[in-house]
Symmetry: D3
Subunit: 171 residues, 6 copies
Amino acid sequence: MQLKKVKESLVVMTELVLPNDTNLLGNLMGGRLMYWMDIASALSAMKHCGSQVVTASVDNISFENAIRRGHVVTIQAQVTRAFNTSMEVHLKVWAEDPIQHFKCQSNEAFFTFVALDPNGKPRQVPPSEPETAEETELYEGAVRRRQIRLILGGKMKPEDAQELKSFFVKS
Amino acid sequence: MQLKKVKESLVVMTELVLPNDTNLLGNLMGGRLMYWMDIASALSAMKHCGSQVVTASVDNISFENAIRRGHVVTIQAQVTRAFNTSMEVHLKVWAEDPIQHFKCQSNEAFFTFVALDPNGKPRQVPPSEPETAEETELYEGAVRRRQIRLILGGKMKPEDAQELKSFFVKS
Amino acid sequence: MQLKKVKESLVVMTELVLPNDTNLLGNLMGGRLMYWMDIASALSAMKHCGSQVVTASVDNISFENAIRRGHVVTIQAQVTRAFNTSMEVHLKVWAEDPIQHFKCQSNEAFFTFVALDPNGKPRQVPPSEPETAEETELYEGAVRRRQIRLILGGKMKPEDAQELKSFFVKS
Amino acid sequence: MQLKKVKESLVVMTELVLPNDTNLLGNLMGGRLMYWMDIASALSAMKHCGSQVVTASVDNISFENAIRRGHVVTIQAQVTRAFNTSMEVHLKVWAEDPIQHFKCQSNEAFFTFVALDPNGKPRQVPPSEPETAEETELYEGAVRRRQIRLILGGKMKPEDAQELKSFFVKS
Amino acid sequence: MQLKKVKESLVVMTELVLPNDTNLLGNLMGGRLMYWMDIASALSAMKHCGSQVVTASVDNISFENAIRRGHVVTIQAQVTRAFNTSMEVHLKVWAEDPIQHFKCQSNEAFFTFVALDPNGKPRQVPPSEPETAEETELYEGAVRRRQIRLILGGKMKPEDAQELKSFFVKS
Amino acid sequence: MQLKKVKESLVVMTELVLPNDTNLLGNLMGGRLMYWMDIASALSAMKHCGSQVVTASVDNISFENAIRRGHVVTIQAQVTRAFNTSMEVHLKVWAEDPIQHFKCQSNEAFFTFVALDPNGKPRQVPPSEPETAEETELYEGAVRRRQIRLILGGKMKPEDAQELKSFFVKS
């Protein structure tokens, strides 16, 4: 399969926070934001592999700043690295008050997707090629994040995660 | 503040997977499931603290089995432990084919919420009391999961997470 | 067909009242509540019969207390009695202000469903077995409620509804 | 308060059955239809009384014919009679296959609404005046239907419902 | 194909403006109104031709008066003229404050649809027959509006639009 | 008020076509697309003027290619020119089959918005500055398109639209 540049998988999504997306205090509910993040990152993964995909995992997400009704949410999703049949996607989320022109980054996250053939079975994806410094850093960190997922999912023993182990012991 | 039993925060939610919740292969989209999980766990946290809450973080979630259009999703959410102004909620998710009576656990997750006063500022929550063996195990593990969140959120250095460190080195 | 216990058909659904579910006064619209009640009771009927179902009728519902935006609606649905190809489902609805911890029963209702085979034709359902005193009372009242439905639907003459007639004349 | 003609409260609503309104067999879910019926009849009641209203009760509804995805649902709602602070609304529902030009009446129902002042308290509504023979028949039957509702809601003893009693004993 | 009277294609739709249909000022968003207008006029076109249709074009729409949350929108759609495989539909939109009984016409528009056979290819539609003076005027104006569409869509040169040209030069 | 570059108003929106967005043939309904276009262009106008906006008019839109369920819709919206209290926004719409990597431009449109102050009254907007050749062409064409709108809206006589008249007579 032919190498694909990660930048070709870039997806930008813009959503307006409507009343039904908010709780009684007028703040965007976390679940609504994750719904949008899942679609944006799935589209990015589909762009990379050219097939249907299914969400395999979502890494720890923390929600820093309240996003309010009437604010505009912008989500940028881009594949960081392709593995055998899966792809890690990196998301950046900004919220903006369109009246005050005040924009802040509110989230960053990693979603992982598995490519599926028309029968719903996992299929091979093209290898990925980072170009910029930021893309390369994300590409290299992907292995460590993958080990954390495997450990947390009970599919790898912590002592076998060499790269991760050194992260905790030495740093 | 008075101690509250964690079982009082139990919330059970049942949802039918409708066409708009699925992708082209007829599988429930991960983002839709996270939307439901966020509401179920927020309601559980509100039951514990009796005030509005906001999603603070979501731990790593992995999606094991495909859930299909027409299936029934059942979500059980219960507070595991209250901290100062925050609460960790544990979720179990089952999917069931109502025709085949085939039910499987598809997910498990931890969401964290912060209690808010009417002005949107964090407020104290009641301490929590586990009773059963399972509740106690979840209660005790909550500290370690909290250290992971703080490290992943850049708010704690890995070497300061004593409990977590021993988990990776010794185990 | 094998007898099934009615308690196996229990379904619990929890919904948060969002802005779009309410009218200008901030009260939950009756139609939204009936939408949720229909899904909860359909899932209960499907649990009993293991096939697709279609709503056949809804008995008189009265709406006592206003349910407000931000409140939590809990619906419990359970089959009361199976007839030839149909099932009566009993629903209890509670509304709760999660901040005030004030919970009240707001509704009770009976929905009837017909089981369908894959071609959309009615099919036989398993007989049902009540166990508790409450289940038995609902089981026995089901015949009288069925007569009311048949009369109101123009499919039975009032004078032929022996059990119902005595209810109006003697009581 | 000035008398209002019932025909002034006529509301016609047309809805297209979309995928999310249907179950796995492609049939419109009963709860979705009741959601539309509730809005159509609430608008009719608001037209009569010129104030906000709340659904007080829904009479027995039976669902005769399956309505399918892509069909068009037409609902006609009109006040039959105003009482002190409440109004009974009569609904007729048709479903049409727009391709086959096959249209059939699928439902008939009665919804009752209470008029509310801006503080959410019940308020007086104008008396209603039927004109055609059909309107008059519905107007006159409204008292009997109201007695059924009061009995079913536990607010009237069956033996006090004179008009209804004769209906069951004599007919 | 048999001539069809345009009045047979009349569709009336009534919608309540809910919170999620409005912007931060509580006004109905233009896009929501166009969504309803598209469905109402598609249903009208389907009534005329008895087949599936697809939106081909929308003429210039101007939005005069703000429509508010809680208002009732009534849309009347009727075919003005059938061409070979397409139909022009005329829409009138009213908004009403159901409390104040204040109703105003807020929009008028023309949508064009193409009839499709089951394979999604354009198919012939029946010719249309206007009866009233208003219907006849709309029928006759349809040719001129069609020329504007063809010019704006780059499918006709302005100098070839004889009828339209005289409209600009002489009037 | 300070001049603003038109490129600062660029908004990119990405939407996945879900089942409920499509008709029985599986094609995206025109009204759904216009709903998304309205939000994208409103956000662009808000970026330019820093206040709430309301849709004033939509120019003729033609829908060329069918967009299907599962396709990805990308909308680019950018202010072309600011007038006194209004802004014209230009939209380009692409649809893409994410599996086939086949992307085509499906629409182009002009929406006009009026800026509103917190009381809902029109307010002055900053003047706009085009930079690229394409931006300049759109900027210059805006006056002619505005004359068409005024004529079609009955607010200008055709013979007074000098620029437009020459367009029809000479071209």
